[in-house]
Assembly symmetry: none
Homo-oligomer: 209 residues x 4
DNA sequence: AATGAATGAGAGTTCATTCAT
DNA sequence: CATGAATGAACTCTCATTCAT
């Protein structure tokens, strides 16, 4: 059985010495204290290496953040793409599975989601632009599903241009309150938000019991 | 006519010297750079006073943040309460007006909303607890409306316990992307999100043109 | 009697707290270890204050160096100007007294002369340009005397355009080897270099005994 | 035809792998940034090798500086010795040719001259003493010429003990301002300084046109 | 209420150097 | 001989906060 516990590290071994340990420690530190509140010393401690050694891997704290966020985005995007591809052709199941995948990522990598949402602002220049572009890729996937559903008549939302953003806001917000020991299981959360998504685009909702 | 422009300061004169200027400067600084990224020097500069004078008004940076957030929350809560009170007895119009008010606050005080959402985490102890409690007050208002609507049969959501949180997440997220010169006006945004809210609770939606 | 001892600080009280102490400590530190070899901690220790307090007076190490050099240049220039003004109209005595004054400065503020000569290179931008311009002012004074002497026929050098620079090089070089307990007294050194200067411009030299 | 261009590296191949490249890169780095301002990484980059490989050739940054300076001094001394030996027996032509050779070195290896003059101070212990001794050898050569000229009556300076140092100061100072595209050619500069030298020792000067 | 000077702690980053390979 | 990874010390500079005035 796949380990979906919170401790599953976002970044697997990269084949370059301590790189993965540093990235994961950075993610944890930025998650705990925010980008500006976390120090490179914190990251080093978390990675079990020396402060100065961090700079053999990443030239600056900013670039370290950028790399962490890039890994998070890549994984998120990959999950959603895969889910959409496996979901057949109709808009509703595609939306449902895309949202399930997105929510799954949020739950599996809650800290990564939080850091992604709140610390991108501390990037500047090309690092920031790249990140924003990558994030837009994910949103575009959802936008296409909405457009498809509206065209096919499955979705009747009067706001087709805005619905995707709202859906993703809703899913991303899970990271701000989710607790693994909470009332809802991972699966229930995914179901719930899939239904929210369909409700937002004003698709016919299945009966519930 | 009321000034709803973005520049409208959140905190009006408090009758105590530079206090309002300091609070507004702090809001701006925390908004620009985050709590840990903004320095007391930044705040002092923004307020047009000296660094050390800040400490005649607030004993610490944390307390300064706490006060800023308290003002934001108070204003937000007040707006929503007033809207609900003025909205009659039925759940749907109450929800619609509550959301309109909430969105109005987000648009009028975008920075305050952003700071509220992202910097509470840097508070600790009683300051934090008070803030969270105040925020819960606002959410409780919405939860009551949802409960009322479910009971009356207007709302058919299978997730009555979670819908309020989702609605507020959606409204708060506006602050992360809204631009005054964007495609949607303040009023349109409020309408849109009112409809989102009703969709989420699975109320019958009015036809749209 | 005027104190011409080596310990006479270059910078007298500036009327602003520890400023003079910091400047003099910086001069000493830069003199001992060079600009890059001296640390701000060294300066702070020498000035009897804390490291961070340095930054209440000077915004950066570079600016601190710039200010030190500015004080040195100003004092040197003032001495030479005064000497020339008091020396009457003929080129030879003007040259002699200018050189005497310059040598006097080198002996009185040997470290300042050394730092001036060797650490300007670590300045950049406007600070550097200003310093170079100020230094050129002093050299221009000498160049004018040379030109005057050449025109009057007192000086017969075939290199009127270059002689001034050479004379000043010679005087400045004293700082690289002078020891207060050396063979030559301050006055003898001044005489010697005055004669060097006249020799370089090929003026008739007085008999010596 | 001998390449006297500025780009002519001071240190030719030493027959030991990258040694010459490292020494020349060190010279350049120390010239650009000073001993304390240049890093071993700078040197490695300039030499096209890895940082750690430097330590296969030189045990420390200090020793690297010492070796660079030793090469410079050796070359300078050799040039002056050869010139004096080839100049016949009379003091005046010997002085003239010695100065010409010295100036030639300064022009050919301006950076080496600058580094020699300003960075010896960062050496300590035996390295420093050896360097100073080697430098004194060159000065002694000039001192002997002065003594010879004074004894023969060619030179009438009242400061026979100090003239040599002044002459060398003058020549070395060229390195601080010389630009290959300047007003004076290499040969003219040599002539000029030869005349300066004779003027300083108060030898009869040839007429000039 | 208001200021400028002061401070200790800590920030990000670079350093010369070492070591295993 | 050559390398990349590693390290402890040190760097310049900024921080929140205090205090005397």
């Amino acid at each position: 059985m796949i380990d979906r516990s919170r401790g599953a590290a976002l970044i697997a071994d990269t084949g370059r010495g301590n790189e993965a340990a540093i990235l994961n420690a950075a993610l944890e530190a930025f998650g705990n204290s925010g980008f500006n509140g976390a120090s490179m010393r914190d990251v080093a401690r978390g990675a079990g290496t020396s402060l100065s050694n961090l700079y053999n891997y990443f030239p600056s704290k900013s670039r370290l953040l950028a790399e962490v966020l890039r890994h998070a985005n890549t994984e998120l995007y990959a999950r959603v793409v895969r889910a959409v591809e496996d979901a057949g052709d109709a808009a509703s199941p595609r939306m449902r599975d895309a949202v399930r995948a997105y929510v799954g990522f949020v739950v599996d990598h809650q800290v990564a989601m939080l850091v992604s949402a709140s610390e991108v602002r501390y990037l500047q220049g090309p690092d920031r632009e790249r990140l924003v572009a990558e994030r837009d890729d994910t949103q575009s996937l959802i936008e296409q599903i909405v457009a498809q559903g509206v065209e096919s008549g499955e979705f009747r939302t009067p706001y087709p241009a805005d619905a995707a953003r709202s859906i993703l806001s809703l899913c991303a917000a899970i990271a701000t309150w989710y607790r693994p020991d909470g009332r809802l299981s991972r699966g229930q959360l995914a179901e719930q938000h899939a239904r929210y998504a369909l409700a937002l685009v004003e698709a016919p909702l299945p009966r519930h019991d």
